[in-house]
Amino acid sequence: MKSDSTIATIQQFDPREGLKLPLFLCRVSAGFPSPAEDHLDQRLDLNELLVAHPAATFFVRVAGDSMIGAGINHDDILVVDRALEPANGKVVIAVLNGELTVKRLFRTGDSFRLAADNPAYPDRLLSEGESCEIWGVATFVIHSL
């Protein structure tokens, strides 16, 4: 004789534990389903907003105030995307003298200029033979209010 149901588990009965029944937080109506059901969206996730390329995105802390004009203050966190093309006018992380620095990049053809966003700081022009590597493009800045 073939039976349709099979025994999945055998558990010991512990009389001290009560029998738990699930409690539904909203009323389960026997008739109509919730009108919102068909329109349920996902919760908002900051990662979707701030991180376009997860494998190539890093968080970097800022030390200094040469970029306050861009809204970037000392101790802020920058979202840096290394997959983006360093285009003219973007805030970038550049490697200068072996250090990571934050500057705004201006490029026309083959010439580059790294500018601070604070009138107190001069532009950084690259001298002959000096190499500059663009580490990544800063896309968002995070600071508490």
Partner: protein, 425 residues
């Protein structure tokens, strides 16, 4: 007629050393080494360190003065960083190639349709450039008609800079001269012992192995050796494994930073290792049916009495619950411990791993109360959010003089908000 396919191996160059350079651009071009657990020996070297004659696996204490004299940068291993960067390399590769098998922390095989040499070179260069630009990690890529040949091609890509980090072996290509230059022990799947066995049969190079009598190879090296030989001949025998096999065991052990003589310190150490291993077990959604504890003295100190022992226990019911594993492990330790010895290392091994939801009940073991699951779940979540060890069992100790030395660890740049890399503005 299906398109013939090529296998490829992507391999990160000097991976741990390269990871240390990602957030420290001042280290570019400098000799650099990374030390093993407990700062014991050298497990990674930058090319500049290799050029100085620093050997792989050299014990640190023996070359410490020399490294300082040569101004070599020294780092303790920073596995949170390496693991994170590895995941990113693999994710990037997965974006560029559809069929990828992750092989180790810094290697991955992939498979692609056979293409013209120029196209293969271009494709390999593109992967290489993308990983370099987006992660700062240099990689090499080898293509071949089999995985074993792809590994050989990768090795050649690394050794010969004129290839620009990419090298391809085409199906049917005459590679005998290449194979003649490779020692048989350097072929993937041939270890020291097999190499010695083969040497007695007059087989010293990869070419010798390729040309050897298959029945001899089958007898000496069993079916795995026979497969390696076929692969050297261009016949693919090893498939691309898409889903990794489930773990067979979890081992957590460390050498002690300071030698340990008393049971109390050993208890702390074993308790800590159990907590780490059990967390790994729960993360993998498994439970363990067997538990083993081992302790040993320092075998390099011939002047001190030696003792090394282990005990294995089969659990009445497979478990991933730290309190239960802790109790059993400490009981095993009590049986193992002998006073009067200077212990240098201890460890725990969880075996007979099963999926957490499987399992027959047993007649004699009580069912696990549900609140244990909640407690452990909360513990794991808190430690994940705030850092490993935020919450720990008292048995694992508050100050731990025996914890391995990690004197020169770089920051956890990508896994801890408090240790982010800093850019000057």
């Amino acid at each position: 007629m299906p398109t013939p396919e090529l296998y490829a191996l992507l391999d990160c160059n000097n991976f741990y050393a390269s990871c240390e350079r990602v957030f420290a651009p001042q280290l570019a071009g400098r000799p650099l080494v990374v030390l093993s657990n407990n700062d014991g020996c050298i497990i990674a070297r930058s090319n500049e360190a290799k050029a100085l004659g620093i050997g792989m696996g050299e014990p640190y204490h023996r070359c410490q003065a020399r490294l300082a004299g040569q101004q070599v940068e020294v780092f303790s291993s920073n596995y949170p960083l390496y693991g994170d960067l590895s995941g990113r390399v693999m994710a990037l590769l997965g974006q560029l190639e559809p069929e990828v098998e992750i092989y180790s922390i810094d290697e991955a095989f992939f498979r692609l349709p056979l293409a013209a040499p120029a196209k293969l070179q271009a494709s390999g260069r593109h992967i290489r450039d993308t990983v370099r630009r987006q992660l700062g990690i240099p990689v090499s890529i080898g293509y071949g008609p089999t995985k074993t040949l792809a590994k050989i091609a990768n090795r050649l890509a690394k050794q010969r800079p004129e290839h620009g980090g990419v090298f391809a072996i085409r199906p049917g290509q005459d590679i005998d001269r290449l194979l003649a230059g490779i020692a048989v022990g350097d072929v993937w799947g041939i270890g020291h012992r097999s190499a010695r066995k083969l040497a007695t049969a007059g087989i010293h190079t990869a070419l010798d192995l390729k040309n050897a009598d298959p029945s001899l190879i089958r007898r000496q090296l069993t079916v795995t050796g026979a497969r390696t030989q076929l692969e050297l001949r261009g016949v693919p025998c090893l498939e691309l494994a898409k889903t990794p096999a489930a773990r067979q065991s979890i081992v957590t052990s460390r050498s002690f930073g300071q030698p340990v003589t008393n049971l109390a310190d050993l208890r702390q150490a074993v308790a800590t290792y159990i907590a780490i291993a059990a967390a790994k077990l729960r993360h993998a959604r498994q439970k363990a049916g067997c538990l083993q504890v081992f302790i040993s003295t320092n075998r390099f100190r011939a002047d001190l009495p030696q003792y090394s022992n282990s005990q294995l226990l089969t659990l009445a019911r497979a478990s991933a619950a730290t309190p239960e594993l802790l109790e059993r492990a400490l009981a095993l330790l009590a049986q193992l411990y002998r006073p009067g010895y200077v212990y240098q290392k201890a460890g725990v091994m969880l075996l007979d791993l099963q999926p957490e939801s499987s399992g027959q009940g047993t007649l004699f073991a009580p069912a696990e109360p549900a609140k244990n699951q909640d407690l452990l779940g909360a513990l794991d979540r808190i430690n994940q959010r705030w850092g490993r060890d935020t919450l720990r069992y008292a048995a694992s100790g508050l100050t731990r003089p025996w914890w391995p030395r990690q004197a020169k660890k770089s920051p956890a740049y990508t896994t801890d908000w408090r240790q982010l890399p800093v850019a000057k503005a």
